[in-house]
């Protein structure tokens, strides 16, 4: 197992190299000169030439790429063009916000999605089943930003139950250590900050969960239906096992294997959804970092963020693969 994990981690290197080439080429080939965008309307041609030289954009692409790569090898992602901050700091402060959001959202989506899927499978073609599946269809079809705005209007403005923007109350007094606000507030025992940070997460997490929850519910329903028709379930029932045990022990464990794959893959779409969710809910996360980077043609930030996201995605997939062998002893890695 250990050697398998090691091999997978080593595979990361060529993969990231490939990703870096693709990203590098992509951002240099799309139209839009970062220098012009930085200087804006008022800069002169001389200003532009000077800045271009300063940033090294006047050199051939392969030289720029070589420099980028050798810096990367030393853990240096460069400085943001837009605001001069080291990219590693930018990611370091934005990534925790996105991870917090993604994980909570994933928990929501998995719990609700799996529960709904199982219930509709057991009560196939009942009213509950039909309602759930219509709900799932809606969940997949509704635009993320629209769901976000509606939740804001209802729970934020009309009912006033939950905050709608930012990561934590702007007046909160939290000592930031890891930038994971939930973690930091627990470590420092600051429960007021914890409550504030958590309540700021709820609406965005629900918004981000709408599409995955629907996909997970549909997937769970169909795999559960499949498992329910297997011989070993009939055997289990014939043994006189209580229905609860049959469902939770025999059905669930087998039905969940493909669902785990879906959940793992959904992490990718979570990061995509995070761009919209973070913009609507004004959360300073990686999605917004990336979109600001793209709009401002902030090459170092785009490169850094994409490479970081890609590694994260690969890492999650590795965890999913390991989870497989736990869920299904038939699967072995060597």
């Amino acid at each position: 197992m250990l050697s398998y994990i090691l091999r997978r981690l080593l595979l990361l290197i060529p993969l990231l190299l490939a990703i870096s080439i693709v990203v590098f080429l992509m951002i240099h080939l799309i139209p839009g000169d970062p220098v012009q965008i930085m200087l804006g309307d008022k800069g002169t041609a001389e200003d532009a030439a000077r800045l271009r030289a300063e940033l090294g954009f006047d050199e051939p692409l392969y030289v720029q790429y070589y420099k980028f790569l050798s810096n990367l090898a030393q853990g240096d992602l460069g400085r943001s063009i837009r605001n001069r901050n080291p990219v590693i700091n930018e990611i370091g402060s934005a990534f925790p916000a996105t991870i917090e959001l993604t994980i909570l959202s994933m928990i929501f989506a998995s719990l609700i999605g799996i529960a709904a899927g199982i219930v509709s499978a057991i009560k196939q073609y009942s009213l509950v089943d039909n309602l759930t599946m219509v709900g799932a269809l809606l969940g997949i079809s509704m635009p993320v930003f629209w769901v976000g705005m509606m939740l804001m209007l209802i729970f934020g403005s009309r009912l006033g139950w939950l905050p709608i923007s930012g990561r934590i109350s702007r007046m909160a007094d939290l000592e930031v250590i890891t930038n994971f606000y939930l973690l930091d507030s627990i470590v420092t025992g600051n429960w007021a900050a914890f409550r504030s940070a958590f309540s700021h997460l709820i609406l965005p997490a629900i918004t981000l969960a709408t599409i995955p929850v629907a996909m997970i519910a549909r997937m769970t329903r169909s795999t559960t239906l499949e498992v329910l028709n297997q011989d070993y379930i009939r055997t289990a029932r014939a043994k006189g096992l209580p229905e609860k045990v049959v469902i939770l022990k025999h059905v669930l464990k087998n039905a969940l294997i493909p669902v785990v794959t879906i959940i793992g893959l959904q992490f990718g779409s979570f990061l995509g959804g995070a761009v919209l969710t973070e913009t609507v809910f004004a959360r300073a996360g990686v999605g917004r970092l990336l979109i600001n980077g793209i709009l401002g043609r902030d090459f170092p930030v785009i490169q850094g963020a994409v490479i970081f996201i890609a590694s994260f995605f690969v890492f999650i997939n590795l965890i999913v693969d390991i989870l497989y062998s736990y869920l299904d002893p038939r699967i072995h890695y060597s």
């Binding site: 930085m38 800069g43 041609a45 200003d47 403005s157 709608i164």
Partner: protein, 521 residues
């Protein structure tokens, strides 16, 4: 006995004090004000940015030698108490305010001013950073030499007489940064602002918020607010919701469709003032058919600007009659501009030999900009109006970076542009647009008129305001008649505030000053 006397005294005190306490018009100290922006600042060093979101923070942390009088573009003393200008307009001597300290405790003096200027202009200066001062060329480029005469006197010698110089020194971009801080923070000075201003910098959480606190020792009196937070909420809808919920006190970036919603809300107030900006179409004066003055005039008559500002822009703008916004000093009231008149446009086209109309490429950018709230939809509207007089405009949309680069180089035939004032001087519009020297940068119509060049240069060299005003009016008359642009619109500044926010004043430069603002609690 003693107790009774004490009680009497207390009662008496309350009877006298309570009417004072009840008076709401008395400014109150304390509280935290939250201002919501659409985007984060990029740098908090005044010399290192051109971005409005940065400038809004900067003007509260830093001071310049002079400043704009509240709500105007007039100059009043700030870090300099008074100044003298030599008769030839080349030498400016400033007497500095004594006893002022930067937030880091280091003294403000003539040395600091010299350090700040040289840091930006002199590549030999030990703290000069190549490519880091985007505004310095415009704001300080005319300076030949700056000298500390003594501790509290500093003298500037200019290369040429440049009348708007004082206005430049009131801009955020020329505000004074602590030299000690520059030395201490080096490359990271951009995120560690140390000035002399009304508020001190506390923290900057990127893309989330910037916190400032009151400078107790401010030379112009402690600000009323204890704390001032600039928060970033990118979505216009979310920002307005937060304002309605009471979590934000002042905001920028209101959707035209939400104006009524703000007006109807009892807790909110919409502050409005004309802005110092213009949106226009640059007609390339060297390219056919726009080398013909009659065609350019016809273009101006053909576009229904009244309808555009009223409906397309939802009343957020006013019609431009010429290149200058009406609120700027030296604006010529007698200008009539080009009121919508398609018949006139047709007959002008006829006279110019284009009776059957013509076809051309009209370039536009896509996203809204501060002088155009509707982005590319403006081009579609203009296209429609032009088609009614027989002119066929083919719209071409370009990505912004390419758009301005090619616009500067003159690759367009006609293209939408706009301008936001830097320093509130008419020179900053007229010279920028119409001096033939600025072809290739800001003269996007590639307009050449020797008379205009002469008038503009003369107006830069005299310091007498009445004289300058006369020259600028003359320029406006000529330019409006030549019609190198289709003059479109001036955006209003529209800032929604909560009614608990008192004494908030809109500045023509659109920077947000909070020194005198207080919160009703």
């Amino acid at each position: 006995m003693l107790r009774r006397v004490l009680l009497m005294v207390l009662i008496l005190m309350f009877t006298f004090i309570s009417p004072i306490l009840a008076d709401n018009h008395e400014a109150q100290y304390g509280g935290t004000l939250i201002y919501a922006q659409g985007a984060d600042a990029d740098a908090l060093d005044p010399h290192m940015t051109t971005l409005g979101n940065s400038a809004d923070v900067i003007v509260n942390v830093f001071d310049g030698l002079v400043r704009f009088k509240a709500g105007t573009t007039e100059i009043e003393p700030a870090l300099a108490t008074d100044w003298e200008i030599s008769d030839d307009g080349l030498e400016y001597v400033f007497h500095l305010r004594e006893g002022v300290s930067f937030h880091d405790g280091s003294p403000f003096n003539a040395e600091a001013v010299v350090f700040d200027i040289e840091r930006q202009l002199d590549p030999e200066h030990p703290y000069y950073m190549e490519g880091s001062y985007p505004y310095a060329g415009f704001s300080l480029g005319m300076i030949d030499q700056v000298k500390a005469v003594n501790d509290y006197t500093v003298s500037f010698t200019l290369k040429n007489p440049y009348a708007p110089f004082l206005k430049n020194l009131a801009m955020f971009a020329t505000m004074i940064v602590s030299p000690e801080a520059v030395k201490e923070y080096g490359e990271d000075i951009f995120k560690n602002p140390v000035g002399t201003g009304a508020f001190k910098f506390v923290e900057w959480v990127r893309d989330d918020h910037i916190t400032l606190k009151a400078n107790e020792d401010y030379w112009d009196g402690r600000p009323y607010l204890d704390e001032l937070i600039f928060t970033v909420i990118p979505n216009n809808q979310t920002r307005l919701l937060e304002m309605e919920n009471g979590n934000v006190h002042v905001m920028e970036g209101l959707n035209p469709t939400d104006i009524a919603r703000v007006r109807e809300n009892d807790e909110l107030e919409l502050l409005e003032a004309p802005g110092l900006n213009i949106g226009y179409i640059a007609l390339h004066n060297e390219k056919k058919p726009f080398d013909n003055k009659k065609v350019r005039k016809a273009m101006n008559y053909a576009v229904n600007k009244e309808e555009i500002v009223e409906y397309l822009m939802g009343g957020q703008a006013t019609v431009a009659r010429g290149p200058l916004p009406p609120t700027i000093w030296s604006y010529d009231e007698s200008l009539e501009g080009y009121p919508y008149n398609p018949e006139r446009a047709k007959s002008l086209l006829e006279e110019a030999g284009y009776g059957d109309g013509f076809e051309f490429t009209l370039r536009t950018y896509s996203a809204p900009r501060s002088y155009n709230p509707v982005g590319a939809r403006l081009a579609t509207a203009v296209q429609q109006y032009l088609s009614e007089v027989g002119i066929k405009a083919n719209i071409e949309q370009l990505e912004w970076g390419t758009y301005i680069e090619e616009g500067k180089a003159g690759k367009h035939t006609a293209a939408f542009f706009g301008w936001i004032a830097d320093n509130g001087d008419p020179d900053n519009f007229l010279n920028v647009f119409f001096n033939s020297d600025n072809r290739g940068s800001t003269n996007r119509a590639f307009y050449v008129n020797e008379e205009v060049d002469r008038l503009l240069e003369e107006a830069q060299q005299i310091t007498d305001e009445a004289e300058r005003e006369k020259l600028y009016k003359e320029v406006q008359q000529i330019v409006v008649d030549d019609a190198p642009f289709v003059f479109l619109n001036h955006m209003k500044m529209q800032i929604p505030i909560r009614k608990s926010v008192k004494n908030y004043v809109l500045y023509p430069t659109n920077n947000k000053y909070f020194h005198k603002v207080w919160l009703e609690q």
